[in-house]
Symmetry: C2
Subunit: 274 residues, 2 copies
Amino acid sequence: MDIVKIGFQGESGSYSEIAALTFFSKFKSCFIPFRSFQDLFDNVDNSYVDAAIVPIENSIEGSVNEAYDLLVEKHLFVTGEIYQRIRHCLIVNKQYRELKTVFSHPQALAQCRNYIRKKSLESVPLYDTAGSVKFIKEHAMLDASAIASKRSAEIYDMKIIEEGIEDKNNNFTRFLIVSKIPNNQTNADKTSIIFSISHTPGSLFLILKEFAAKNINLTKIESRPTKDIPWEYYFFVDFEGNPNADGVRASLLNIKNESIFFKILGSYKKAEIF
Amino acid sequence: MDIVKIGFQGESGSYSEIAALTFFSKFKSCFIPFRSFQDLFDNVDNSYVDAAIVPIENSIEGSVNEAYDLLVEKHLFVTGEIYQRIRHCLIVNKQYRELKTVFSHPQALAQCRNYIRKKSLESVPLYDTAGSVKFIKEHAMLDASAIASKRSAEIYDMKIIEEGIEDKNNNFTRFLIVSKIPNNQTNADKTSIIFSISHTPGSLFLILKEFAAKNINLTKIESRPTKDIPWEYYFFVDFEGNPNADGVRASLLNIKNESIFFKILGSYKKAEIF
């Protein structure tokens, strides 16, 4: 079996890599870090990696806008999902002194807002959680800390001061597997679509009616600006069902007819929520 | 007439302050800067300021999540809206040398992504656009630039290298006026509500049906995690109409009955879109 190349945003030890290790545990795979989401999507598009694992939503901080925008921009497909529990640690150099600052990804800083305030640390946003651990190590910053996974402390051989420092413990991130080739699993039971509609009364209602009429469960609806026409949106809908099932196929055809733009992002096996 | 005290996030010269100057031009008013949205909302809540002007959505980058979350958290009301054209400038110290970095608010950096790449500058996120101009001035950083409004260059007596550097020129931000006392204007023709619903098939459909049945125009729908139960959401809906009009009142009563949580955030005079 060939080695499957999986890309992720961030550095080794990031939550994306942890989620990828679980999702691809049955495959012979290697995991390749990319600095930005743009780089990550570009490298799926040019086939340098076979797939990417992409955080799409956190249960506390909400949707990852840049990931949604890239799903519109690039002609790629969603082929899987996985939920990952997020458990943040405060990580320091072993020779640390009195702490003044805390480095991390803006979402992680936001998720530990109360803890950071209590400790009177100054927040410094960086491109990645594990990347922040790497950064304070490489610069031997003894009055700085980083917020990241336990795994990242192990990888960079750093000291964990405290574990589970997130303000709310029901902190999960949903990740999507994004690839150049759509999934054709017949047992797929969840589907993601994108559409845009005209800005007239009731147009979103006409779309949702299609789902309600067939008793299809929408698990998420998200909107993002089209960027071309102010205050017009792309809608992203996830629902339970396979697009080839009779009822669903008819609904999707109607939705396509009601939409200005319509795309099935992919169907895949629904992941277990912890 | 008393002086009206208006709070805004950021520093003098920020787009929030520019929007406030236009919105409150007919009032004797003063404008008070706050470092964070949390501080800003706290100071409306404790009546230190009479109202706040808050960016809620940008036509390119989408919704301002933290502002939405604070509208749930605090018991405040929306009493007005205004759209502001965003025109970014690259601003430097007068004695600048070869530029290496660019400081600004993450949304402004995102809106000038192509320009920054073309100029090969390294992006450094900061809490505010105008605050970035202040920062590179106070630290006399001659190889650093800031992205902010023309007004902020004037206020801090700095040099503008280029105007209109945003990647897309249809760049507008919608601001809300947030206050402790709801608006009772009888000529209000736009309304904002928040609700949460059960996670069952068709529940969002039942809400939208109420709007569609009365031909009420939804101008925006946004969702944010409740933060207490993973993957359950608050929905924010803006629509054209006054909650005291006969048809609208009946619809809102039905929506309230279908919801777990329901609140009218406020009704106000619809702003002109440029």
